[in-house]
Structures are given as structure tokens and as C-alpha cells.
């Protein structure tokens, strides 16, 4: 890759660096920063294969091979977290993806500019709310005397302890995610929609195309690259989850359906002090995530010619 191309023969690399050294000098500190704060922790993952005895030596003391991986593979709590993780991420993805697209299409149809701006402004707002406040809101809304139970009470339903019932957790997770992210998720779609050639709409309209047909035959194909890019990112994120939200909303009563890989890593590592074990679990999650995003990207590149890199 390096050194052999023709450009390098024309002017050697050291001459180029010497000529542009002032521009390159900008990068010295940031690159050191990246090495320390982004790449050193990646290397720090070796403690998944080594014994870490605490203290500043983040690379651990001796090799133990796959001991920690074998341990968590045999741990039913890990597999529970793994399954919960998939269930929560996939159900969120299935609900959110079409809803965001439909919401963007509907916003795009609003004729009155002021109304459009207002809807956008309001719907983006929850994105900026702290997770602590979101979790607090969810708990207040769902408490025994809260508005949801009051509303259900009008229909004769006894108060439900949503927050401590595991069967409710996926619904709470998905609904609160939609509340917080639906509006913000439309931004890239709306941006892509403004880029569609208006002549396409005119031509289709003269042909007598209905609104639904316009959306289906002009708008959606026009924003397909954006749809694919977001889908690739989302698929890559399936092994992830909204860690902070779950940490704030779950409790031992709901671990059964709410404990995911990242919260399991947190409890094992930070709370329990099993650093190497927790790192092994975290590394497993990170590597699967990387494989997922790479695969999704390759498929998207081949089928729709749009990709992240």
C-alpha cells in the first residue's frame, strides 16, 4: 500500500512532510490524544486474555488464554443478557425504523411552513433531555398515582406496577425511545427530501399520480441512499443498547427482561470488580458489533451502491 505508488516516486514522502510540516504539526497532540484515549483502551482489552490484578498496569500480569471466555459462555446470566439485548434492540429497530420514515414523509407533506417548523422544533426537543430526566419522567408517568394508571383507572383497570414487572420492560424501553428519538431521527430524511428534483414531482403530478404514489415512486427512491445508510448503522448497533437508560430504569425485579450485555458488564466489572471477566464480555459485544456493521455495509454497497465507507 505505501511507498510503491507512482506519486511517491515523483516526490519522496519526507520531502512532502518537510514542505507541509506546519500543517502536520497541528496533528501531533490530537494524534497522541487518540492513541491514549481511544487506542490504548482498545489494547487494554488484552486483559480479557490476561489476569488483571488492579492498579495502574492496565495490560494485566499473565496470560490465561480463553479462561474468561469459557467462563461467561457457561454463565446463564450472560445468555439471558445476550437474549434480552437482541430482543430489545430488534424490537426497537422494527418499531422505530418505519415510524421515523412515515413521520418524515408526513412532516414533508405539511404545507404551512410555520406549522412545519413548529412540529419539527417540538419533536426534536426530547432528544436534548438528559437520560436522568427521561428515566425520572418515565417513573413518574408510570407510578401508581401517575397519569397512565389514572387513565387506566377510568376504564376500571387496577393500578399496574409497570416499573417492577419484567413483562412491561420491552414496551417501556421501546416507547420511551420513540418519544425521545422519533423527531430527531427524521432530520436526515427531511434533508434528503429537500434534495429531490422538484421536476420529478411535477412530471408525476401531470401524469395524475396521487399523493401516495408520489411518496412511493418519487420520495422514497430519492431518499433510498439515506435509508440504507441509517439501516446499516442501526444493524451495526444491534449488539449495543441504550446503556444509560437501562441502568436508570431497570432494577433486580426486572433483570429478567431488562439486563443487557452492557449493564451486565457494568455490574460484573465496576460493581463486582471482576475486571477481566467483564472485559471479555464487553470485547465479545464489541467484536460482534464490528462484524455486523461491516457485513451490513458490504451488503448495502453491493445491492444499493450506498455505504458508510
Amino acid at each position: 500500500m505505501e511507498g510503491s505508488s507512482k506519486v511517491f516516486e515523483v516526490s519522496p514522502l519526507w520531502k512532502h512532510v518537510r514542505k507541509e510540516w506546519k500543517l502536520y504539526s497541528f496533528l501531533v497532540l490530537p494524534i497522541i490524544y487518540f492513541l491514549i484515549f481511544k487506542y490504548a483502551p482498545m489494547i487494554g482489552n488484552v486483559i480479557a486474555f490476561r489476569k488483571y490484578r488492579g492498579g495502574p498496569d492496565f495490560l494485566g500480569t499473565e496470560w490465561v488464554g480463553l479462561q474468561y471466555f469459557k467462563m461467561f459462555m457457561k454463565d446463564p446470566t450472560f445468555w439471558r443478557a445476550f437474549t434480552n439485548n437482541l430482543v430489545l434492540s430488534i424490537s426497537y429497530l422494527i418499531v422505530r425504523f418505519p415510524l421515523t420514515l412515515i413521520f418524515a414523509l408526513l412532516i414533508n407533506e405539511i404545507r404551512r411552513l410555520k406549522l412545519k417548523k413548529f412540529v419539527q422544533t417540538v419533536s426534536y426537543l426530547p432528544h436534548f433531555i438528559s437520560m436522568v430526566i427521561l428515566a425520572g419522567m418515565v417513573k413518574e408517568m408510570l407510578s401508581a398515582a401517575g397519569p397512565i394508571n389514572a387513565l387506566l383507572g377510568h376504564f376500571g383497570v387496577e393500578p399496574i406496577a409497570f416499573i417492577s414487572l419484567p413483562q412491561w420492560f420491552p414496551t417501556i424501553y421501546v416507547t420511551s425511545g420513540i418519544w425521545q428519538g422519533l423527531g430527531w431521527g427524521t432530520i436526515l430524511y427531511l434533508a434528503a427530501m429537500t434534495g429531490i428534483n422538484t421536476e420529478l414531482y411535477e412530471a408525476a403530478r401531470i401524469d395524475g399520480a396521487s399523493r401516495l404514489r408520489l411518496a412511493w415512486h418519487v420520495t422514497i427512491p430519492g431518499i433510498l441512499p439515506t435509508i440504507m445508510t441509517l439501516l446499516v448503522l442501526d444493524i451495526g448497533g444491534i449488539m449495543g443498547s441504550n446503556f444509560e437508560k437501562i441502568l436508570l430504569l431497570y432494577n433486580p425485579l426486572t433483570y429478567e427482561s431488562a439486563d443487557v450485555i452492557s449493564t451486565y458488564v457494568y455490574r460484573m466489572g465496576i460493581t463486582g470488580g471482576n475486571f477481566s471477566y467483564a472485559t471479555a464480555v464487553g470485547l465479545f459485544e464489541g467484536v460482534i458489533g464490528l462484524i455486523l456493521v461491516t457485513t451490513a455495509n458490504t451488503i448495502s454497497k453491493k445491492t444499493t451502491k450506498s455505504s458508510l465507507w
Binding site: 484515549f37 482489552n45 428515566a135 423527531g183
Partner: protein, 290 residues
């Protein structure tokens, strides 16, 4: 163009859907505000829905009469100010050379930055590095340094820099400015919109963050307000600790969470409508591939 009746029906349904979305988005805020001004009996009786019942501002009076809340607010403001200064400076310094196509080594440096968007060290290695190896525990640095530069913000700024017209820099070069002079006196002043965007992203991020503080900040007096709020919500802080007398305690216990949530989210909600366009703009620039 003539409105067909089916088009008018569609507009009507769409307006209805939008009204519902706006209602459901705003309702939790309305409820929190209503609850925070209601009496204990009304809150526990499930009587509060849209407006305060048996109006009382006692909880706010008690919270605001003690220095605690202002103290934690002050911490957050300090962390946000220092963190933003570091983050914005570092991000622009890194993004500037990366935006220059003529730098051949960018072929290596850009993937070096991008890779960190798709893979990271993970919770434990990061924790060990910051807390044990670098021993930043209980200092502001643990909160503002590890997240100072994000690949996303670098790519955002690099894309913006690359979109600036080259002629300005060329003519500045003719006038005798070197690379540093051009960056400081030409590029940065032209980049106010993206600087505003990144500044706001960083401020909101620090304002809302509590998890890093829960990992690294042991001394309670150094907590940011979000972490304090978390303790209030988890009822780890009793009404008397907040400053209530024993006869006020029940009233405070009923409404302290909602009042604290209102007080903490107030700055963001008040500033948000005026700066919203910078966030949106940032997302749009970011959507152009790096």
C-alpha cells in the same frame, strides 16, 4: 393548483396526527410542571393531570432556599465551560489539516480517526485507564478529557473546513500569513456556524452527563447537577437533607423529584428553540460522508 377533496381530507388527517405527536411530546413536561406545584394529597391521590391541583410552590421554595442546588449547578457550569473550551479547540485543530487534500498522510490519518466510530475500548478498559492508570479520579479532568475529541465532531468540522473557498486562503498566503495565521485569522472566523454547532453539542453532552461522574467523582461536593438529580430521583436523598422541616417532609417527598427535574431541564428547554437550527445544521453537514 386546485385542491382536490381527497387532498383536503389528507391534510386534515395529517394535521390531526401532528397535533397528537405534539401533544404526546409535550405532555410529560406539562405533567411534571403540574405535579411539582400540586399538594401531596393531590399527587398521591392521582388527581394531577394537566394543571396544578391545590397550588403550592413550597417545594421550590425549600430547594431554592438552600445553596445545594446552586452549588451542583455551579459544578456543571464549570465542567461545561472548561470541557467546551478544550473540546472545541482540540477538535478544530485536528480537523483543519485533515480537511486538506494535499496532505498525503491523511490517507492514513482519516481512517485512523474513523475507525474509532465503529470500535471502542469498551467500559472496563476505559475505566481502568482513566481511574487507575492515569489516576484522574475525583478531578474535573476525568469528566472533560476522555471525551474531548469525538470522531463524529472531527469529521463534521473537517467537512465544513473543506467546503470553504480556497481563494481566501490563497490570497492570505500572498499577503504573507503562514499556516497558523491563516487558520486563526481566516479559517476560524469563517467557521462560526460549525463552531457554534460543535460548542452546543458539547455543552448539551456535558450538561446531561452523569454516568462518568458516577464512575470517577467520589466527593459528593464535586458532583454535577445531573448526578445530584439522579440521587434525588432514586430517593437516596431525604427531604430533610434537602432542607425541609419535619412537617414539610411529606409535601417535599411527593413533589421534590418533579421540581428537581423541572429546575434541571429548564435551561436546556429555554435556550433550545433559539439554537435548534445549529444542531440541525450540524446533523446535515455530518450526513455528508467524511
Amino acid at each position: 393548483m386546485k385542491e382536490t377533496s381527497s387532498s383536503r381530507i389528507f391534510q386534515g388527517i395529517n394535521a390531526l396526527i401532528m397535533t397528537l405527536v405534539v401533544f404526546f411530546t409535550l405532555y410529560p413536561f406539562v405533567y411534571l410542571i403540574a405535579q411539582s406545584f400540586s399538594s401531596e394529597a393531590a399527587v398521591y391521590g392521582g388527581k394531577v393531570s394537566f394543571y396544578p391541583v391545590d397550588f403550592t410552590a413550597l417545594t421550590y421554595k425549600v430547594i431554592l432556599s438552600k445553596p445545594d442546588f446552586f452549588h451542583y449547578y455551579g459544578n456543571t457550569i464549570l465542567y461545561a465551560a472548561v470541557g467546551t473550551l478544550i473540546a472545541v479547540t482540540a477538535t478544530s485543530v485536528m480537523a483543519y489539516p485533515l480537511s486538506k487534500d494535499k496532505l498525503r498522510l491523511n490517507k492514513f490519518f482519516i481512517p485512523f480517526v474513523l475507525f474509532t466510530m465503529y470500535f471502542g475500548g469498551g467500559l472496563i478498559p476505559n475505566y481502568i485507564l482513566v481511574a487507575k492508570t492515569l489516576d484522574m479520579r475525583d478531578t474535573i479532568w476525568a469528566l472533560v478529557i476522555p471525551g474531548a475529541i469525538s470522531a463524529f465532531n472531527v469529521i463534521l468540522m473537517k467537512t465544513f473546513f473543506a467546503s470553504l473557498p480556497n481563494e481566501l486562503e490563497e490570497s492570505a498566503k500572498v499577503d504573507g500569513l503562514d499556516v497558523y495565521g491563516i487558520f486563526l485569522r481566516i479559517t476560524l472566523p469563517l467557521s462560526k456556524p460549525i463552531l457554534a454547532t460543535i460548542t452546543l453539542f458539547v455543552i448539551v453532552g456535558i450538561w446531561n452527563s452523569w454516568f462518568d461522574a458516577s464512575l470517577y467523582i467520589q466527593s459528593k461536593e464535586k458532583w454535577p447537577v445531573a448526578l445530584y438529580l439522579r440521587q434525588v430521583i432514586e430517593t437516596a436523598i431525604s427531604p430533610t437533607e434537602i432542607g425541609a422541616s419535619s412537617e414539610q417532609a411529606n409535601q417535599i417527598a411527593a413533589t421534590v423529584k418533579s421540581a428537581a427535574m423541572v429546575l434541571t431541564s429548564l435551561p436546556i428547554i429555554c435556550i433550545y428553540p433559539f439554537v435548534q437550527k445549529y444542531f440541525v445544521q450540524g446533523m446535515m453537514i455530518g450526513s455528508v460522508k467524511g
